[in-house]
Structures are given as structure tokens and as C-alpha cells.
Symmetry: C2
Subunit: 458 residues, 2 copies
């Protein structure tokens, strides 16, 4: 009896399938002019590891609350991969923002300090943005850092060293991030090379470039003696340098530079407080508005303008948005600084999700490039009852939340006067509903490039 | 034309649906006696945050490799919640293993040191294992700690303080984890209370209890003058105290105690090396077998026996497995120790997945209770090229991986001679394919209780 039932179903299903197929073909052919474009909004929290997310949640919505991030339906972890410059077969366990953004932008694992070039052999590697632009897809970058800084630079340019941001920096006199003064002389325009990062941005196919970094564009190109901002205008960019001009901008291409270098951050500790050695000052402090942020566009405002301009393209867009100072404020042991920049990221994500609701083929990914120093430790040692004088040997901030609780944040990766270190922890990856089925539960960072190019059919 | 096509499909689909429904009902009624039991395997890596997972991956399979953990199809993050003992409305940002295991076991947020009792009001809260046992579902705990330690204890007992492990400890003379010498006198059997944790385990409904902790059972109960192991035997437990006896055990109930307290760990640093202040010793070291582990059953072997015994129950089982010394070795700044215990966890997970393949209604969850101190920092400061003498102010281990690379691990949450601190970071949560649709991408730790009871229909 069962087999005869299945036989009947078989016949019926075959008929149904044929009919459905016919309808589908009809619908596709009649709708082909209205197929919605595919878009990608990639949000990078620089240094935004699980600790940064937790610190921000505790402060902004309480430990049991939910950030917009927490409501993203897809959650993965990302292994950060870095290799040695001299021996690219040898892994290095802690990255910088240059090699990690390069991995996301190109799919290639490289060495610290490199901007979308191969380790040791120094060859440029095609970026997601370059592939997208070739296919007629609009591209843009938004960052709270200088737009020539490592993360945005890796999507739009190629350099052996992140420090080669402008024509005058092609032979950097100082060095950082463990890179020993690499010289970019041979890459300069004068020597027939691609030029500094700022010059490459001006010559890129990007439609929207928004962030800090005015000082890197206030130079004469050594190829043709033209000022870089003049060259940008000649390339069709509207150039805006303050919030009001940004909000009113309506040019097809837009270069917005709102501060000389990294943009001011939104928050700081009360009266500028930051983490200190506990013996020096263990008084709790809260967060307040950072005065220098006054008049700056928010990350959300820059993103809103970018979405407005990019979405005019029929073939879709790729937009990379970086909340850069999660990292920079962690280096500087300023918890209110990085909490505020996490808030900027979360507010921007909310805007992106609203956009995606109206444009359903918009893939939203949120991730970090590498981990950072900050750790939540007990406000009183777990072992305080033992009577020993135990506390962190690093710098600690006792941050009072808006609800009056004290969260102790430890920065103890580098005891020097300079800066905290990055860490090698795996970082979070979030996706909106469009990402369902596209992301494994754990992924190697360069594979994000493949996820995005596959989504766009590049 | 389209509407008439849809009309035809509508008719056909209706017929098809009716036939499919009839078949489904037939299949269900004929198979009702063979409905597979639902099982839960809950694996807790004590202190296993994202840093611990990354450290283990880097050492065991390389940064681009995949642990068994990494292949789990479902990945979430878990917010760890703790409240103040005096004011339970006030969140505390760093937990201990007692309140976190209690949250998972009961769904209730409590204060540090408590074993499945309410903060301040000290009321017992029904545990997952108690609910399961009531429903005829077999229950068991396996741990590399003493089975009376906080994590297993929270699933099978209730106490105001984790330290009240045995009859002689009801008024602990020393204290730790920030709890100031709470006395459990009133909970003693002599005073008509539920007794010490060891006494409660012996009287619990658990079918399998395996781990360390012999010393906590080598006592006379003050209720009836009987030795605790004798009482266990009277309650139907086979009692085994070495690996061979474990492997050969075939009793319905089984209590296995393989060391006086915490079980020895699998690995140690070469010649017992651990993290030190860099000024004292910055020579890299690898990992080697820990001599005292010889003869111990592995976590996988204990789990294998537990699965064997528990799966004999027609109504399914709940098994909690703890790799406890990820935490304890991190407290002690012993990277090889916690890497080895992560390997034990990963090997055990592999076994659990194999079991679940043959028993498809087995939900596997892997999570941690809280974060821990260890951080991967750059082997050479990111700022070394600046010439400043910068390094961590904490203790650092330069661990040589099997591939000869050096991974620097920093422990800098407590400068004292004692122990590193827990951290307040959100922790990972992994699920097998059965978990798909059951776990949001971010969850508050106590909600895991509801996920598990809902799965079992409790």
C-alpha cells in the first residue's frame, strides 16, 4: 500500500515540479530588471575582542543586557593569521591592523605592517574593493582613524609598510608596530611606483572615503606637482572637511576628512582619567563627553552619508566601516575611550540593520582584526580574604558604570610608558540573517575575503 | 494564466499534503515504541575563554588548524552573570566557578562561592540533575577536579559555600575566592541540615560520579557514624579508585575517585617550567608529560565509562563533564598544564560526537564558566623597534610549539605570589547539530538551564 501511495505522490510531485519550474522561469524573466543589487556592509571594530564587547555591554546596557551586536543572528569566531616577513611559512601569534585588514581585503596572509602586499616578495594583491569596482559595484570606506591608516588603506591601496601614508612619509624616520623602518622610496611616484597611500586613495576607484587624515592629503604629488586634494577633485570627488558639509554633500564621489589624523573620540574618563598603577590612584571614575569631539561627525553620520551615496548604484556596493579607536584607546589605557567607540560601532550597526531591512540583499558582517590588552578583573581580588596584598601589576581603571557599579579593567601587557600590546586571541564575527549558511562557526580570517567575493559573485 | 496554474498546484498540493500526512501518522504510530531517548552531554571547560581556545589551537594544531571544538556547527557567546551576596540586585563583573556552575545547573544568578543556593536568602534551588532524575532520566558528573569541587557540586548538591566539601570542612578555617569564611555548621547533618557536599553526592540520585576527591569521602558521616564510601556502596554505587577498576566497572551506579583532591594534569612545562617575570627567566620551553599523571584515567576514559553506563537507561541521560584544570593551571601560570587539559577536553568532545552520531537525539553543548588570566602577547613587543625596554609587568611564558615557534603567554592579573584572577569576559558556547535553532547567538549563562530543560521536556 505504501509503495503505491509513494507512486501516486511521485507522479504528482513530478507534475508539480514542472509547473513550479515554469512559474519560476516566468517570474525570473519578468523580474530580471528589478533584481535587487547585492550589497556588503563590513564593520570592523579595530581591536574589538570578546573582552571589549563585554566591557562595552557592562557599561552601556548592563551585563544581562543586549547590545545591537548581541542580537545579530549569526555568531562565529575568527582565527587571526600572521606570518613572519623573512620566513612566510612561519606563523606569528600576534598581528597588527595592517596584516589583518590585508587578510580580510585580499584573502592572503601577510606579515605585520604590510598593506595588501605579499610577505617577503612584496607583490601587490588584488583587493575586494578592486574586484568589486571592476564589476561595476560601488565601493567605499569609512573610518574614525585617518583614512590612510592600516585598515582602510588595506582595502584601497598596496604598500610594503603602513607608515607610508603620504608623499613625505615614503622614508619614515620613526617606526612602530615592530617594523624596523622599512623604506618605501622605490614605491614613490618619483620612482615610478604606485605612490603613498594617500596618493593611491585619490587614484582609487572608491566612491566614498570618509574619516580623519587631512594632514596626509595636504601635500604635493611628486608625480605631477599637484596638491592631493586638487587631484581628488579632478578625479570627481567632492571634498568636505566638516560635519555640516558632510551632511549636505550630494556629489557622486565624496572624500571627507574631518581631522588632521585620527578623529577625536566620543568619550573620555572624568577629567581625562585613564588606567594607572593602583598604588598611584585607585579612585573609581566614570565617563564623560570628550570635549574635542564637539563638531565631529559620528561614525553613524558618516555611514549614513556613505549608504546614501553608494546605494544609488544599480549594481550594489561594498562598504567597509571601521571603528578604529577601540584599538587606539586600548593602547592608551583609556577605558571610556574604547567604550565610547564601541557605542559608535553599535549605533552604526543599528543603522546598517535598518538599511538592510529595506534592502534585503545586504550582507552585514561585523568583526575585529585582532585582540587587545584590556581585561575585566575582580574589583577586589578573588583572594582578598587571604589577607595578602594582591593586585594587578599592570595599570587598572576602576570604572563606575551609569548604574553605580565598579568595573575593574586591567591593562598589563606592557609596563612601559608607551602603549599596551595587541593580543593573539581569536576574535568575534557576527552576521545578519543574510549571513546564515555563509559563515562556518569558526573561520580563518583570510577566508572572509572568499565569503564576500562569493556573495557578490566576483 | 498564472492564477489557473496556481489553482492546479493548489489542488495537487492539497492531495499531496493529505497523503504525506497519512504516511507520517502511520510511520509515527508504528515507531512509537522505538522513539530514541533524548540525551544531553554538557562539557564545561573551567576558565576556557577564547584566549584558552586560541592558545590550545596554536599549540596543538597550529593557528590555521582546527580543534574538534572549532568544527562544532553552532557557536554562541555567553554573558557570565554574578550578583553581590549582600545586595543581589547589584551585579558583580567577575565570577567564580561556584556561582557560574550554579547558574547553568539551576537558571538562577547567585553570588560567588554559592552552590545552587540563592544569594543572601540561602535557599536551595532545584538543579537540572534533580529535575532529570525525577523524570527517570539518568544523571552523571565527570570532572578532573574533586567531584566535590564547585562545578560538579553545583549540579548535585546545595551549599552556602563551595568549601564545605566534607563533614570536617563545615566550618572552614581558611577561605578563598573572596568569600570570608562562611560557616556551614547549621547545614551539617548533626544539625539536621543536608550535610557536606560529599554527603549530598552520596545521597544524590546521580548514577555516575567520576573524578578526584578521595579525601573528601574518607570521613564518617555525623548523622549515622558510617564511612561515606560505605554509605555510597549501600546506596548502590560501585566504588572504584584506580584506572583499571574504572575500565572494568560494570555496576549500574558508579562512584570513581582517582586522586585525593584535584586529579593530576596531563602535561607540564619542560622540567616543570611555568611563567615567570621576564627579568628572571625568558628562555622558551616546551611541554612534556606530567609524571604524576601516570596511571590516571583520562577525561575521555572516564567519559567513555559514563556514557556506557548512562546510555543503558531507556529514558536518556544528562552527563556533565568538566575539564577543571584549564582553570587551575591558569591560576598557577602553567601554560602547558592548561593546554594539556584543553586537549583532554577536545579529545573527550570527539568521543561525545562519535556517541551522538549513533544516538542522534544527543544534544552536545560545550561552554566555559568564566574567563581567565592568560593572554597571548607578542613574543617581541610591537614597539620593540622604538628601542624602549618594554615588556609585560606580569609573568610571561615563552612556549615553544611542536613546530618550533615561540608563543608568549602573559599572566598579569595579580602580581602576588598566590594566584592569577578570573576575568569577566563573555565565554564561548558550542553546540552540535542537534543544537541548531536551540541557541541564540548570544545568551545569558542562566538561560542555558532553560535550553536544557526544554530540550528534555522537563
Amino acid at each position: 500500500m505504501l509503495s503505491s501511495v509513494l507512486f501516486i505522490i511521485g507522479i504528482n510531485m513530478l507534475k508539480v515540479n514542472h509547473i513550479l519550474q515554469a512559474i519560476a522561469l516566468t517570474l525570473i524573466s519578468s523580474a530580471s530588471f528589478a533584481t535587487p543589487a547585492k550589497n556588503i556592509i563590513l564593520i570592523i571594530g579595530d581591536g574589538m575582542d570578546d573582552h571589549q564587547v563585554t566591557i562595552a555591554r557592562n557599561y552601556l546596557v548592563g551585563p544581562a543586557g543586549q547590545l545591537t551586536l548581541d542580537n545579530m543572528p549569526v555568531r562565529s569566531s575568527v582565527a587571526v593569521l600572521t606570518v613572519d616577513e623573512e620566513d612566510p611559512n612561519k606563523p606569528v601569534f600576534v598581528a597588527d591592523s595592517a596584516n589583518t585588514a590585508s587578510a580580510i581585503a585580499t584573502g592572503v596572509v601577510t606579515s605585520k605592517g604590510r598593506i595588501s602586499t605579499t610577505p617577503n616578495t612584496n607583490q601587490p594583491v588584488t583587493t575586494l574593493m578592486e574586484l568589486a569596482a571592476e564589476a561595476g559595484i560601488a565601493t567605499g570606506v569609512v573610518s574614525t582613524a585617518s583614512v590612510t591608516d592600516a585598515t582602510p588603506a588595506s582595502f584601497l591601496s598596496h604598500s610594503k609598510y603602513r607608515g607610508c601614508e603620504s608623499p613625505n612619509m615614503m622614508n619614515p624616520s620613526a617606526s612602530y608596530y615592530g617594523i624596523i623602518k622599512p623604506r618605501c622610496d622605490t614605491d614613490s611616484k618619483a620612482n615610478g611606483g604606485p605612490g603613498s597611500i594617500a596618493e593611491q586613495l585619490v587614484e582609487s576607484q572608491a566612491q566614498v572615503i570618509l574619516g580623519g587624515g587631512t594632514k596626509h592629503f595636504d601635500h604635493i604629488s611628486d608625480s605631477d606637482g599637484q596638491h592631493l586634494l586638487k587631484k581628488a577633485q579632478q578625479a570627481g570627488f567632492g571634498v568636505v572637511q566638516n560635519r555640516e558639509a558632510l551632511l549636505n554633500a550630494n556629489t557622486t564621489r565624496l572624500l571627507g576628512l574631518f581631522s588632521p589624523s585620527t578623529m577625536p573620540v566620543m568619550w573620555r574618563g572624568d577629567e581625562g582619567r585613564k588606567a594607572e598603577f593602583l598604588a598611584d590612584n585607585d579612585a573609581p571614575f566614570g565617563c564623560e563627553a570628550e570635549p574635542t569631539f564637539t563638531g565631529m561627525p559620528t561614525l553613524r553620520e558618516m555611514t549614513s552619508k556613505a549608504l546614501d551615496l553608494l546605494s544609488r548604484n544599480d549594481k550594489g556596493f561594498v562598504l567597509m566601516i571601521e571603528s578604529a579607536s577601540v584599538d587606539k584607546q586600548s593602547h592608551a589605557r583609556k577605558p571610556c575611550g574604547h567604550i565610547g567607540e564601541m557605542k559608535q560601532l553599535d549605533d552604526t550597526l543599528k543603522l546598517a540593520l535598518t538599511y538592510a531591512e529595506k534592502h534585503p540583499d545586504t550582507l552585514i558582517l561585523v568583526t575585529a582584526d585582532h585582540g587587545h590588552a584590556a581585561q575585566i578583573i575582580p574589583a577586589q581580588s578573588l583572594f582578598a580574604a587571604l589577607g595578602a596584598e594582591n593586585h594587578s601589576s599592570g595599570r587598572v581603571a576602576m570604572v563606575t558604570t551609569p548604574h553605580g557599579e565598579v568595573m575593574a579593567i586591567n591593562y598589563a601587557t606592557n609596563s612601559g610608558k608607551g602603549s599596551e600590546e595587541h593580543t593573539g586571541v581569536q576574535v568575534p564575527l557576527y552576521g545578519n540573517s543574510v549571513a546564515e549558511g555563509l559563515l562556518p562557526s569558526h573561520i580563518n580570517q583570510p577566508e572572509l575575503f572568499g565569503v564576500m567575493t562569493a556573495y557578490l559573485g566576483l
